[in-house]
Structures are given as C-alpha cells and as structure tokens.
Amino acid sequence: MNSVQSIFFGIREYLSPVLKNSKFKETGCITPEEFIAAGDFLVYKCPTWKWEGGEVTKRRDYLPIEKQFLITKNVPCLRRVKQMEYTDEDDETQIETENGEDAWVATHSGRATTNIEEIAQIEGEEDEISKTISNIVLDDANANDKEEVDVPDINDIPDMDDLGDGVAEDDDPATLADASNTRKSAHDDGPSDKILQVRTYDVFITYDKYYQTPRMWLFGYDEHRRPLTSIQTFEDISQDYAKKTVTIETHPHLNMSLASIHPCRHAQVMKKIIEKMNEEGIKKFELLQQQSAESNVEQAQVRVDQYLIIFLKFMSSVVPTIDYDHTICA
C-alpha cells in the first residue's frame, strides 16, 4: 500500500515542472531557489538548523548537492499536546521574549500566531483544541509511574540474563550515581534541579516539488531514547492535524519512514499569513513615516528569504510542544 503510493508520488513529483518565477506573495508557493535562499537565511539566523545532502541516490537535481534538506536534531519535547495549557496569555508572553533586531517579526509574530488559528478556522478546521485540552500540568508522580511501566524488564528477555556477566566495576565515589535524583545546588534555595528524561525529536524540512512548499518531517525518541512509534508521535501533534494531515511516509532523502505534515494546505495558509503580515507591515510603515522619513516601504514587506522562519511559526501551531528554534535573536 505504502509502496504503491510512494511510486505514485514519485512519478507525480517527476512530472511536475520546477517552479521558476517567484509567486510567493500571490500563491504562497516558493521555487527551489527561493527554498535555498530561505534555508540559508534560517541557518544564518537560527544556527541549530543545518543543511544536509542526504542519500546520494536520492538527490534532487534542482537542489544543490549539499543543500537537499534542512535538519535540527535532538529538539526537546517536554510534554504531550493534551497536557499543554493553551491560552492566549501564553502566546503573548512568547512574543515578548522575541524582541530582536528585526523589529517586524517581533511586532507581528503574535498576530501571525493568532492569525494562523483564525485561518485554521476559516479553512474549516474546527478548533477543537480549547475543548479537548484539559488543564493537566506535568505531574511528576504520574510520569514516574508511566516510566516504570515503559521500562522493559531486562530479565524477561531470554538470553539477556547473564549478558552482564564478567563485567564488574568498583564503586567510584567521583561518579554521580543516580543522575535522575533531585539535587539541590550548593548555594541557593531556588527550585531544585533534576534530570528529566524527555522526548526528543529530529526535525527535517524538505522541499516538496509537487506542492512547491517546504514540508516538515518528524522523527522522535522516547524518554529512554527508543524510537517513537507513529501512534506515540501523534501525541505531539495538534489533534486537528494529527487526524487529517499527518502521514507516515518515506523520507525523500533518507532511508527511513517518519511522520510528515502533509503540505496540501501549506501554500494557502502561508499566503494568508504573508498577506496579513504585509498589511500590518504597511500600517506600521505609515506610522513610522509620520515619525521619521528614514524607512522605506520595501522594508515593511515580507521578503522571500524570511519564508521558512514564518513557515516554522506556522508549523509550531501544528506541533506546539516540539521546541525547535525559529526565533530571530540579535
């Protein structure tokens, strides 16, 4: 089933022409060249992202050899979507921490975030989040119980009983024995620090030639660094999307299957966000013009190399608990 689909997608991608002329403001789509420019800008602004070449046999010839896709690794994901409190106040605080040199993003990021939700509703995606999300906060006791259930008993596995034989180590007083113990720092009375095993994700962005948009892929590990199953991954995706637009497919540049947010709606949503941001930008530009004559209207408009930063903000409404870097800092 999966393989038939993949063949079909492969052929469809092969047949669709490579987008040459920039239409990102009109359609929300970008060309491979624009994808590269936006990727370079992302890597420059958020250096935890990196370009990769991927499998040699899977290279796309419309992308440079070393810039086939973007990746950021080991992104912490503290809690499941259903545990997240989802309020407008949260969005506000988030915005305040993003004040950077590029004032336009700082000013509009909040509105963009809100817009995405509005747009999601316009698009007919019913916003179930507020209904389904109860105000569960991370409960340590429960988490621990769950972890114990998750740990496979090594003794249950035949052949494993005596694998540790022959290896012995003296107790070493200079080794921190159990790092998961809560430990007070030596000098202050603040909250104690502890090592918490959390889920982590490797996040990929590829260029989807058929939809002419970026596409996000997720590969997750559980608290004990075991790969997540697709069902577990769905726990970290906003319920609206998990049911409709997330699929498990083969990575276009690697030999692995992983969850991907399907890009069929990306262009539409991106177009709306960019339009909103441009409107806000012009309003702000007019305001600035009254104060000083030094700004020009071009600066108030979204540039195509900022596309991926905006895209990642959009995606963070789909995977709100995966804390990848998309902030523009000084």
């Binding site: 393989s3 250096p47 080991n74 503290l78 540790g164 180590e169 790092a179 430990r183 790969p227 800092c329």
Partner: protein
C-alpha cells in the same frame, strides 16, 4: 569531607535509529563475518537546564548524552550537527549472541582506557583533546528480528585520591564575571571554535586580561598562553555535557589527568561551558576550583578506569533496542522509489 568530592555526570548513550540501519547494511555488505573493532565517531552537545514554568516544579536538565548518528561510520567531524563536539570510539560487533555474551568486555574496556592513557603520555591528546573522550561500543545485531543488543563504555581514568571542590564552591558564571566579561568569553570562544578543528574545540584555556578582555587558547599553547600567570590566573574550560549545577560532565575527568600528568596541576579553576545556542546564552555555565593534594602522583602505568554504562534499571548490563516496527517500512521504502 566526601561531600567536597567532585561527582561527575556520566554520559548517557543516545543512538539515532538510522545508525542501526547503517550498521545492518555494513554488516551485510562490508564486514560480513569480520568482527574486528571499527572506528566510529560519536558526538555530544553541552548541557542546559530548562527553567520551570511552575515554581513548584524542579528545573529540568537534559541528560549528558553521547549521540551516534548516521554519519558515525564516516568518522568525519565536519558532518556533525552544529554546536556539538566529536568523540572518537570503536564498535565491536559480534557475530552471535553467544560471542556477545562471552566476549571479554573487561579486556576491551581496558584496551580503550590504555589507549586514552597512551594518548595522554605521548601528548597526542594535547594536540587533539577529543582523544580524551574515547569510548567503546559492543554490539550484537540480530538482523532477522531487527533487535540490537549494545553496551557502551566511557573510560574515565581514576586519580587517587579523587578531585575535590575547593570550599565546596561552584558558582554561576554571572556570580563571578560581569556581562562584559561573559560576552567576551562567549564571542572569543565562538571564534576559537570556528578556527580550530573539531578535535580541539571541546577543551580550551582561558585567562582574564586587563580591560575585561578574555583570551582563549588551545591546550597545545599551555606554556606560552599561561606564561607569567600565577596558578590562580590559570583557567581551563571544557564544553560540558552536564547541565546539573553541582556536577561537571564526564570529559573533565580525563582532562584533569592530562593536566596533572603534563603540567603537574593539582589545583585549577575550571569553566564548565554550557550554552543555549539558539539564544547565544551561556548563563548556565559554572565556575569552580578543584584540587587534589599536591603530594598526589600519577603512576607511569595506566591508572584504573571506570565507565561502563548502566542499563535502564541501573545495573551493569547491556541494553536492547527493538526496531522491528520501523525497520520493515525502511526495507519497503528502499525498493519502492
């Protein structure tokens, strides 16, 4: 007294799933029945804490992880993720579960520790300090069931008596230095990282200059860099995979042995360099002074070493990962596109 001892945070292994896929392919296509140890390259990043949003909760610290990625077999440090540090290792993949069971793991661990010791004595670890983080990985790949049994060893050479924290005093970097100095440290270390090869960037020398400048040097510059400095003015820094406030990470242990062996250092100020790369924030970094009695000598033979990773139940035993649920689709995908 024992509360003064430095307690180091051991590495927690973190193997990326594609690594196992690559191991399977190489086992079938390249190694076949050859089970001699192969060089691999792991990596680690610095530790950090996530501030709790609720006052009642503890701050959350990520474990000190040592990662093995897809590129581990290429042993090419330039392919590692940004803001990470290479760690050289060897993988011994046995052909059967019995061989895995009966393998003289102590001997392998000992060999690895002795290699670290040799690199310290010869000075190779001064030129390429990442040799201090050498590790060993023993595996058995059950290719039919997509099951992998594995065990990491991260040898740390022991000093007798162990290192102690002077005055039991570990401070946040901003308790010791002001913002100008912290910024100078961050910027100059950034430059250092860009100029040096990956094998050097995890360990470095620091000194305060007049006018709040901070200079960064490589271990190989020790004599010229600290020329004219008093013992108190000498600072070593290391990229610290630990994020815990009172506990430096594992890589510091072998560095201290090297410092003692080559420059007879028995008391030194240490910067545990920790950063949040996306925020250009090194506020989690810690400063401490550690010492051993100045009568301590390090013998000519390789000291004892510890560092087998414990399993999830805290026992000295291997771990197992079952990838059946994802390896089958991988096979499918290979033939489909």
């Amino acid at each position: 007294m024992s509360s003064n001892l430095v307690q180091f945070v051991p590495f927690s292994s973190a193997v990326e799933a594609p690594f196992w896929h690559t191991l399977s392919t190489r086992k079938i296509d390249v190694y076949k029945l050859d089970d001699t140890p192969q060089s691999i390259l792991g990596y680690y990043s610095v530790g950090y804490s996530l501030r709790s949003q609720h006052d009642t909760e503890a701050n959350i610290t990520m474990p000190a992880r040592l990662y093995l990625g897809t590129g581990a077999f290429d042993t090419d440090a330039t392919s590692l993720p940004p803001f990470t540090y290479p760690s050289p290792g060897a993988i011994k993949n046995t052909n059967t579960i019995e061989e895995f069971k009966n393998l003289d793991k102590n001997a392998l661990f000992r060999e690895t520790a002795e290699q670290i010791w040799k690199d310290i004595i010869s000075g190779a670890a001064i030129k390429d300090p990442y040799l201090l983080t050498r590790f060993i990985l023993v595996t058995f790949a059950d290719l039919k069931k997509y099951k992998y049994h594995y065990w990491f060893g991260f040898p740390a050479l022991l000093t007798e008596p162990p290192w102690a924290i002077v005055n039991n005093d570990i401070k946040d970097i901003d308790e010791v230095w002001d913002n100008t100095e912290i910024k100078a440290l961050r910027e100059n270390y950034d430059k250092f990282r860009q100029l040096q090869s990956g094998s050097c960037t995890g360990f470095f020398l620091v000194k305060q200059l007049s006018n709040k400048e901070i200079a960064i040097g490589s271990l190989s510059e020790w004599n010229s860099f600290f020329d004219g400095c008093s013992d108190e003015e000498r600072i070593v820094g290391f990229a610290d995979p630990s994020g815990l406030p009172s506990n430096p990470g594992w890589p510091l242990r072998n560095l201290l042995v090297l410092l003692k062996r080559h420059w007879n250092v028995h008391k030194i100020k240490v910067i545990c360099y920790r950063e949040i790369p996306s925020k250009k924030d090194i506020i989690n970094s810690r400063i401490l002074t550690i010492e051993i009695p100045d009568t301590t000598t390090i013998p000519d033979e390789c000291p004892k070493a510890v560092g087998w990773e414990k399993n999830l139940s805290g026992k000295l035993s291997p771990r197992t990962v079952d990838l059946a649920h994802m390896m089958d689709p991988i096979k499918l995908s290979d033939t489909s596109v």
